[in-house]
């Protein structure tokens, strides 16, 4: 295990050291200390390594992650795990706005709450939030799964494409073209698996599923006068 102390390390040096593990892995486990809320920690990684970020972070922690398993012991600022490709990002605390935005794959596991726009424009990532999510979550979400153990804020899944949304608590309101859908066996099976992987204390049967009504996919000629 290698420890990087941010009190004596430049951010670029940290990221280039971790990014260099993609070609030659020096160590499978890394610990980053003294983060003091810094931005852009552990971004652009592409190696099967484990990275523990001790404390809370600023913007864009663990962005563009591929293959690495990144664990943050505190809370994260806006844009955590943005555009993740694969691997996992786990946050012990809360996440600020647009967590997991545009993510293509991997697992984002937030043990606290996520604020507004969680999973905006997600494209295949799986996101589990153990607490609540804020307004406009999964806005224009294209594919992947957003699993919320708590409540969802206003306009959940507005202008949704094919992402699947699962909520255990209350939904304050659904966004345009987002509707509740039936829970089929494959959904219960999926939930059982992802809840286990996320270490979440919840049963698949407790969730409701939401998805796209697919009414915004095509132009409705009856609306022509409105333009």
């Amino acid at each position: 295990m290698q420890t990087i102390d941010m009190a004596s390390t430049e951010l670029r040096q940290l990221n280039s050291t971790l990014q260099a593990q993609s070609t030659k892995t020096d160590d499978a486990e890394w610990v980053i200390e003294n983060t003091r809320g810094a931005h852009a920690l552990a971004v652009g990684l592409d190696a099967p390594i484990k990275v523990t970020v001790k404390g809370s972070t600023g913007y864009y922690c663990a962005g563009m992650n591929k293959r690495a398993d990144i664990y943050v012991t505190g809370s994260v600022g806006p844009g955590v795990a943005e555009n993740m490709i694969s691997g996992s990002v786990t946050v012990d605390g809360d996440a600020s706005q647009y967590a997991g935005a545009t993510g293509h794959g991997g697992l984002l596991n937030i043990r606290g709450n996520a604020s507004s726009r969680c999973g905006i424009s997600m494209k295949g990532i799986d996101i589990v939030v153990h607490g609540n999510v804020g307004h406009m979550s999964a806005f224009m979400a294209q594919s992947g799964n957003l699993v919320i153990l708590g409540d969802a804020g206003d306009a959940l899944g507005d202008s949704l494409y094919e992402a699947r949304l699962f909520v255990r608590g209350k939904v304050k309101s659904l966004g345009a073209d987002c509707i509740e859908k039936e829970m089929r066996p494959e959904h219960l099976e999926f939930l059982a698996d992802i809840l286990k992987r996320a270490g979440a204390d919840a049963k698949p049967e407790e969730f409701k599923r939401y998805g796209s009504a697919r009414k915004l996919y095509n132009f409705n000629v009856d609306h022509a006068d409105e333009y």
Partner: protein, 295 residues
């Protein structure tokens, strides 16, 4: 952008360190606003009314001012000059007369209160803080701002905090879009903004609501109905400290609370030097939700 910070102490132990802690918070937010910086600090109550004034030519304006005012008011006036600012201690009931005097001389009044002092200038936050010796200041609570200007020019008067009534001050991250209409409405109510700045309109709005009898929570709640635009506001009053974000909430905000204090920051980085932050409750204030603390 802009960066805002606030610190409200629940206990007296940290009072001597308030300026020191706020200065570190402010400097950390330099990336968000390098144009200008300012701070409002609620220190010890004066024996009389505190008035913070500012001048572009302090050597000329402040020379002999203490004696001139003492003669004018026929009562002792004390003056503490700090760089381009000075804090006057005035006899109660003399505010209107002194304001008229300052207007005639071209000296700007930054704020008036029992314990509040306001310092703001153009320049990097570290330089502004050093010029005014903010690190050495003690107090119960304070708010600060680092500015990246969008709606009005980079000037001393365009910097935050804005104080538009006794003991009140406000800092803002965002931009308001209905400030011209609000400006006219507020002027009719006797709270005319003195600058072209949109934030001052919000400060006047809150002052007008408080003057009408609203409490701080109600006044902050009113901003959600009556002000249009992007905002995270942090407001200071004699005994309190309040926070509100617009319903879209795209301007960042994070809060931390321990047994000793409540802290506000645009980013978590601002909290990194606070005592006990490792075990503090840290959370993001909800959109369109009013938070306030009063002692």
């Amino acid at each position: 952008m802009c960066g805002i910070v606030g610190l409200f102490l629940k206990k007296d132990d940290l009072r001597p360190r308030l300026g020191d802690l706020l200065t570190d918070m402010l400097i950390t937010m330099t990336d968000r606003g390098p144009d200008s910086a300012g701070i409002a600090i609620y220190g010890d109550a004066a024996d009389g009314l505190k008035m913070t004034i500012q001048s572009a030519t302090p050597d000329e304006h402040f020379d002999g001012l203490e004696e001139t005012l003492t003669a004018l008011l026929r009562a002792p006036v004390r003056m503490r000059v700090i760089d381009t600012h000075a804090v006057l201690t005035l006899p109660e009931g003399s505010e209107a007369e002194v304001r008229a005097f300052m207007a005639e001389k071209g000296i700007r009044v930054m704020g008036v209160g029992d314990s509040m002092e306001i310092f703001k200038e153009v320049g990097l936050p570290k330089d502004v803080a050093a010029r005014f010796g903010i690190r050495q200041m003690a107090g119960s609570h304070g708010i600060g701002h680092t500015r990246m200007a969008t709606e009005s020019a980079v000037t001393t008067l365009g910097a935050h905090p804005f104080s538009t009534d006794e003991n009140q001050c406000l800092v803002h991250n965002g931009s308001l879009s209905n400030h011209n209409r609000m400006r006219r409405e507020l002027a009719r109510k006797g709270f005319a903004p003195q600058t072209e700045n949109d934030t001052e309109v919000a400060a006047c709005y809150i002052s007008s609501r408080l003057a009408e009898g609203a409490n701080l929570g109600e006044a902050l709640d009113g901003t959600l109905q009556d002000l249009d635009g992007f905002f995270t506001f942090v407001v200071g009053t004699k005994n309190g400290f309040g926070v509100v974000r617009d319903p879209i909430a795209c301007k960042p905000a994070v809060m931390a609370e321990t047994e000793d204090y409540v802290a506000f920051g645009s980013e978590y980085r601002a909290f990194a030097g606070l005592p006990g932050i490792e075990t503090a409750r840290v959370w993001e204030p909800e959109p369109a939700t009013v938070y306030f603390w009063e002692r």
